[in-house]
């Protein structure tokens, strides 16, 4: 599927390309509904379970409780206890089960309740899910999705607010996808489920119930491995993903009023990276700021900056700056605002880049 995708970005408002795989419901008229991000995820899960009998949902509290964030609401009522399963409380087990199921023709969608609890699952994801196709030369495959809420900003307890997407992005064979709006959550989750290889789907829980968007429940997927250019601009490329897209949008709005034109790019699939879109943007603007919530060192921002240094040195009019979390453990709720990059941080980084010349 992904090999057929165009290398260039998809604009959010643009028409779906022919290569975007979609399974449109032709029997009934698709429902259109205002959804927040977590409702869009729930809608996509319902849609795909209804259309693909091999899809199975598993995790802690996903069945009768509908997930602690309600992402799996009513799935068990709709699709039964065989296909929607509460597991014992063991993340390594959830991942191992998913690998085993995936090798036998099912499409498991596992929920890890919070990203901070994924570590027991990593051995299965890294040593098995990411390698099953390779080590059997394609005899067995591992088409699974692991969903995890991640990121800070909801005053959650310790271990509930980290952003460790770079750990996962470093693993060859794993796709890491992060939606930044309800619309993209719906379309990207459908694409993740239909992908024939493992996908880690990270859900920015800070915006789970932020701005609602009108979504047509037509089963239309969005492409993976592709950045989304959310707005076009001339003066600077602002690259981000997940919940921070909200702050980036605010900054772009403010700068627009000052006559500064920002091109805002939502990376969406942080691995493998669509550098084509980012390089095209920077070739146009000559300036780039990357914003992410994860700690700065070893983050995906560093990878993007390195690739700009490799491929766009002569396009750059100013140094590439990163706005990121600090290289410290995620503070508890009282100080998380100090840790999290905010509008002011993004704004001042952009001013610094623009002032360079």
């Amino acid at each position: 599927m992904s090999a057929n995708l165009p290398a260039s970005s998809q604009t959010v408002t643009g028409p779906a390309t022919a290569s975007t795989r979609a399974s449109t419901d032709t029997t009934t008229e698709a429902e259109t509904k205002d959804c927040v991000l977590v409702e869009a995820i729930n809608m996509a899960l319902h849609y795909e379970m209804a259309h693909d009998p091999t899809v199975v949902v598993l995790g802690e509290d996903v069945a009768s409780n509908g997930g602690v964030f309600r992402a799996t609401l009513d799935l068990q009522q709709a699709f039964g206890a065989e296909r929607v399963r509460d597991t014992p409380l063991a993340e390594g087990l959830i991942a191992g089960l998913s690998v085993g199921m995936a090798t036998q023709g099912l499409k498991p969608i596992a929920e890890i309740q919070f990203m901070g609890f994924m570590f027991a699952a990593l051995e299965q994801l890294i040593c098995h899910a990411a390698r099953m196709r390779n080590r059997t030369r394609g005899r067995l495959t591992c088409p699974l999705v692991v969903r995890m809420p991640f990121g800070g900003g909801i005053h959650a307890p310790e271990h509930h607010s980290e952003s460790t997407e770079a750990l996962l992005a470093h693993i060859p064979g794993l796709r890491v996808v992060i939606p930044s709006s309800a619309t993209r959550a719906y379309g990207l989750l459908l694409a993740a489920i239909r992908e024939p290889d493992p996908v880690i789907f990270l859900e920015p829980k800070r915006i789970y119930r932020a701005q609602a968007q009108r979504i047509c429940n037509d089963g239309q997927a969005l492409p993976l491995d592709t950045c989304f250019t959310l707005r076009e601009g001339e003066d600077l490329s602002l690259i981000s993903w997940g919940a921070l897209i909200s702050e980036c949008t605010q900054v772009a709005d403010q700068l627009h009023e000052q006559g500064i034109s920002v091109e805002l790019i939502d990376v969406a699939t942080v691995s493998p990276l669509d550098m084509t879109t980012i390089l095209q943007s920077v070739a146009k603007t000559g300036r780039c700021v990357i914003a992410h919530e994860a700690p700065k060192s070893g983050g995906i921002g560093g990878e993007i900056a390195a690739q700009l240094a490799e491929h766009a040195l002569l396009d750059l009019k100013a140094p590439v700056l990163r706005v990121a979390g600090y290289d410290t453990v995620m503070p508890y709720a009282k100080k998380e605002a100090l840790y999290l990059p905010g509008v002011e941080d993004i704004h001042s980084a952009i001013q610094e880049v623009l002032a360079f010349g």
């Binding site: 090798t103 040593c127 064979g173 493998p272």
Partner: protein
Amino acid sequence: MRGRQQFSIHFLQYLNAQGKLDLPLPEWITDTPLLLTIYENMVQARLLDQKAVALQRTGQMGTYPSTLGQEAISVCTGLAMAKHDVLVPYYRDAPAQIIRGMSPAEVFIYWGGDERGGNLNRTSRDLPICVPIATQLTQAAGVATALKIKGEEGVVVVSCGDGATSKGDFMEAMNLAGVWDLPIVFIINNNRWAISVPLAQQTRAATLAQKAIAAGIEGLQVDGNDPIAVYDAISKAIQRARENQQPALIEALSYRLCDHTTADDASRYRDADELKAHWQEEPLLRFQQFLHQQGLWDAEREKALQQRCQQVIDTAVAEYLALETEPPGAIIDYLHAFLPHALETQRAEIMLKSHAINSREDQK
């Protein structure tokens, strides 16, 4: 205080170390072809293992984990399973894999450092061997769950060593098998050693079989050097799993007569007398003595069998040594169903690097 629950662990042994009967034989023992098949596969396994070690020692193969002394467990695992069952093997289970259709050459190919030894038999849905300890156990639970959800007949058989029972994955998988009534049989090859660490340093438990009790599933200990006990226990556990969706754990007591792998030297940490004593219990000779006693075996049959096995091994070695290198793109082409756009440049670099390496070698 009063007693709440009582448990006991049974030990099954038909043939003692001298090949003599401790119990009346099970009903299936009249199946002479099966007895001979078990024996022939054990001999085949030992000779293949010797060849693998020899290939490593002569620099023709990489590090290899020997199956010496553990033939009864792996062979009976393979033979007790139906074709549509699913094997989830750990890395010391090549004999079972071969019985289930993997090419013997793949043992050499895999341990020779080539992914094409990953059990490429396309008609199989067995998992490939698992190197990270105990991780196959939760996967096996997933396979069993998949069979149940799809309404397919089939039992999952998953194996591990004694060291694996110290990991959480072991308990997590058995616990789930109990909760979800999974058609799965867990087999521990308790060969008493996890590299240099003896069983007494893995657990204070008197048996590994009793760990099943905490998961609410059946646990049984068998003499893993007694093929009749091993086959009897595994085939009956598979039958119960098939008919009643009833999981079970079988602890098969064996002894690692070899080093952990060819990269190990067990004489550094293991008493020579202990090893010598356990050679008296090894499964192959014991079973051969039994077959002799039953009038089912003689020197002439043994000679013919050795020749047949040697032919299989010679063919496998020839296939291994003649295997041409995979094209360089193979190191990235099997990662995804389709090469992501982002990896195209690196794939091109791989091709160029391979070309440069080949050119340098041509110049030498």
